[in-house]
Symmetry: C2
Subunit: 158 residues, 2 copies
DNA sequence: TATTGTTATACTCTATAACTATA
DNA sequence: TATAGTTATAGAGTATAACAATA
């Protein structure tokens, strides 16, 4: 049926699995009660900020595939908690440069420890080596790096 | 830092990747405009119904990790479109047995072809073999089978 | 005029609790 | 009384459009 032999019988179902696993992760994280009170997107946002260093809001939004207008509220909360800092770009005063605050780095580490625990429960069927493989594949699929560049939706022949 | 050598430096970040990939998949699917008009959970629901055959609503809800009350509306839509059939369990007239309708099977196949296309764009960084590995790992992580059994949240030592 | 961030609004998804009909 | 499904409601999450300040 598939015209492409490199995409076998699994085609079309992997995303469903990912979606479901993502759901399980969210629910499990909620059940465990993330201590830092960080929600998924806050968690990812802090991660990107740590990897990337200071970035403009729009860049961050596109990295997170989040609409800029939604990022506003997210950053308001994070800034209110002292986890990130916003400052104007001197070069272009329209821009806000967002940066991870020391408290944010600490909160992120705490959340990571907690998430490692949740993850451990969720992936308990997999060995440590398999988890590394999984992690590597996901990372490669996402562009060999954290969600950084605004890779446009594939123009591909679909 | 990690006490468990089997869970290396990747610990705590895999779920974030999964979450992000899930988001990308959703957005990409929306962008492509799923032809059958099937939303993610409808898609997964039909998949489970095909794999499992007729099941009680509650069983389906727990398989999907979806609250039974939310499943009602989902099934209403699917039944309204003629994709699934609900009938009373003769043995216990409180139960509704849900079953995939012929139209549902067709819609599912169409959606799968479409999703295979979306997936192809999303996982284009991976070879066919790698995608199989990824699929296998995800499937094993989810219990070596489709979301079927109501595996309770891990009691694990967290 | 174009762009960055913001506000306002609406729509979807989901969880919770109260209700019904069967058991 | 307990259970399966349903309804109603509230709260996130997210997309869209309109707006302010700056370029």
């Amino acid at each position: 049926m598939t015209s492409d032999p490199t995409a076998p019988a699994t085609a079309g179902t992997t995303l469903a699995l990912i979606d479901h696993l993502s759901r399980l992760g969210r629910r499990s994280a909620e059940a465990h009660g993330v201590p830092s009170g960080l929600r998924p997107r806050q968690f990812v946002a802090l991660t990107v900020l740590r990897e990337q260093g200071p970035v403009a809001q729009q860049t961050l939004a596109s990295a997170l595939r989040l609409d800029p207008s939604n990022l506003v509220g997210l950053l308001n909360e994070l800034e209110g908690s002292g986890l990130v800092v916003r400052r104007r770009d001197p070069g272009d005063r329209r821009r806000h440069i967002v940066e991870l605050a020391p408290d944010g780095a600490r909160a992120l580490e705490a959340a990571e420890r907690e998430m490692a625990c949740v993850e451990d429960g969720l992936l308990r069927a997999l060995s440590g080596q398999e988890r590394e493989v999984l992690h590597g594949l996901l990372r490669r699929a996402l562009g060999d790096q954290l969600p950084t560049c605004a890779e446009a939706d594939p123009p591909g022949g679909c």
